[in-house]
Symmetry: C2
Subunit: 410 residues, 2 copies
């Protein structure tokens, strides 16, 4: 099956910086994909700190179990990612795959196994042929290059139709630092924890516990706002590596104002990547932003926003370029959250469609048609009970989703 | 848009009995559908008792508000249902439509307005042209016939591809009674409360409060086990009318063993109708039964069963005739309920596929292919933590769903 690029893809993969202390290499394992790279190795310099967030699915894959265990070391020397088989529901054999991969990589990078992070994505329930990874690793260790970021981003793709990268600059105490990352996503994307695989890299010096606080906070406002089909993957992983090569003021023992610009840049690249994931939702033809205001709390607003963003009836209506606001309000109602049916307001593309729970007298369907025919759809709902607000990103539900998911294993 | 009949439809609409004390009439309002009946009137004899269950969506339509209010009277003399416009998010105008319809009908049937039940189904957010209903009612009142049950079942359809009816006989204290009903469903079907519109009729004598207890209990095991797309309608309604014409022993002031056979028959017709709703899920090509056992409780098992039944990834895999058991276990994990990843067992079509959380050594994909290629799919999961069990019915997710829902208003 060949996939056409999503019509919502960005113009190009960003120019990926060479970040001091990070090197990449890629190769083909022959495990599932032919004629493309499907394994990436990253090597990090000695003083690299690390933070991570993982799927809330209670049936995680073996790599997620492993990463969660080793995260307490706070350090990282390597990362191995394979695409094609996810190493989920593989029992003790799956655990062995992870341990052998970590041990082999540690040997090659002169590190400890518990400094090697692992991620796998692809089909679940099938065993991983471990040696197809481990036999490839020595060559990858020789090929490591700080210029291979884009190649690494491509090697982790599965049903993605484009590689997803993001880059930003920030200043910490007068010192410039890089932030860059890449992600893979598309189907089986839903909070919490949102998403897919995303790997973020910076040359800043930031202690692991501070890094974790920054990552978790940014994650709530980025990857956890994306949903494609409400299905939460067993492998969702976001890891942030900080090599420390920028040698900025390293006295940041807590999240403080000196880190504000780094925080902004981190949220910027994570937002960018999260939106790219929704833009590459399987079969997506329109990118949808849902904004909810007037809710009882921010958490309540987020539940409502995700109920709208996950509703198949809303998503098919958008695919049909139909400003079917009744389905949006239905989704508010099924969320179980507080909302005032008779005071609600609803806008699409900025145009007031429903006011106080009924169709606005001023509303003419023709007014909103140009917006519905576009590729960027905005739905705004004020549920009129409080001051809570939140947003969610998703895509429409089209024939393409069915095609990709009915045929994925064949 | 014309809809092909679902490949999962029963062979025929059942022979609908003439139930003493119930008469039907149908007509075309011209509101939305051309060339078919879209309004039904039912008249009930004087001593009719009534019970109802309604959507848990917090944004119900005006008819649901009305029915909930009048249900406390415990009596019914009439029922008016229209298909095409749902009278939801119609504010005070929607309330006026309901009140005028009830008043007009009450006048024609020599009843009180609060004995007239109303249901509407179709597009939400659009006003109902009330006079198209009220002007039709005098003719319907003249046409009332106890033989028009099937015509009534057809008049309430929207995107349904076949009319749904069910019939059973029961004995109460040596007296034979009829139970019969019809339903409309397809998209926007999810617990709780499940479904769609369903109207049930019996000639038994049963007090309203006993009837309510029987209906609520059977509803949990029938309509609340159906899901098509996880979207819960704003109009879901199940009403049971008991005319008392059978003159069975009327001393049943509580649910007691004398009513056991009636209970059985009620669950039988409600199960039948609920399954027909899933069989007519928009675009359905396969009927799916999900059975969960070994859960912490029955409630937990139901949450897991519905998580599986609602998963777009599971439903598209079934559409693709792919025994993708990993997606089923993913859905167990996203349910948030207790399950033992490393002890779970999973069967499809009775064939053991996963055992203790990994692919069963005995499993060959070819063994399960004949089952996956059939129209009736059975998924069984034992989550290995307790004794709770439950089931859910759904259908696969196909291109047909997208076609119907992207174009529904056009």
């Amino acid at each position: 099956m060949s996939l056409k690029p999503s019509p919502l893809a960005p113009a190009a993969f960003p120019e990926f910086p060479e970040i001091k202390g990070v090197r990449f290499a890629v190769g083909n394992s022959g495990m599932r994909y032919k004629g493309r790279d499907d394994v990436m190795l990253a090597e990090f310099s000695d003083r690299t700190t690390v933070a991570g967030v993982f799927t809330k699915n209670s049936m995680p894959g073996a790599p997620v179990d492993w990463d969660r265990e080793i995260l307490s070391t706070g350090t990282a020397r390597g990362l191995v990612v394979n695409a094609g088989i996810a190493n989920v529901f593989t029992g003790t054999a799956g655990r062995k795959t992870v341990e052998e991969t970590a041990t082999t990589t540690a040997g090659l990078l002169n590190a400890k196994p518990e400094q090697i992070y692992i991620a796998s994505t692809g089909v679940i329930g099938e065993p991983v042929p471990t040696e197809k990874i481990t036999e490839l690793l020595p060559r990858l260790a020789e090929d490591l290059s700080s210029a291979a970021g884009e190649a690494a981003a491509k090697a982790i793709m599965t049903t993605d139709t484009f590689a997803k990268g993001a880059v930003a600059r920030a200043t910490i105490g007068g010192k410039k630092v890089w932030l860059a990352g890449f992600a893979k996503g598309s189907g089986m994307i839903a909070p919490d924890m949102a998403t897919m695989l995303a790997f973020l890299f910076t040359d800043a010096v930031i202690p692991a516990d501070v890094l974790q606080e920054l990552l978790s906070e940014a994650n709530e406002k980025s990857f956890n706002c994306v949903t494609v089909d409400s299905d939460t993957s067993t492998s969702d992983t976001v890891i942030l590596f900080a090599t420390g090569a920028a040698e900025n003021d390293s006295s940041q023992q807590s999240v403080n104002p000196l880190l504000d610009d780094f925080k902004r840049a981190l949220l910027e690249i994570m937002t960018d990547l999260a939106q790219q994931v929704a833009r590459d939702g399987e079969g997506a033809s329109k990118f949808i932003t849902v904004k909810v205001s007037g809710a009882a709390s921010d958490a309540s607003a987020k539940t409502i926003a995700l109920a709208i963003a996950n509703s198949p009836l809303v998503k098919t209506a958008i695919a049909g370029e139909d400003a079917n606001w009744g389905r949006v309000v239905m989704a508010v109602g099924k969320s179980g959250e507080k909302a005032d049916r008779d005071k609600m307001n609803l806008r699409m593309g900025g145009i007031l469609i429903a006011e106080n729970g009924v169709r606005a007298p001023s509303y003419r369907e023709a007014d909103v048609m140009p917006h519905m025919q576009g590729k960027e759809i905005l739905i705004e709902v004020d549920v009129a009970v409080g001051k809570g607000s939140a947003f969610a990103w998703t895509c429409d539900l089209t024939h393409g989703y069915i095609e990709i998911n009915a045929d994925y294993r064949s």
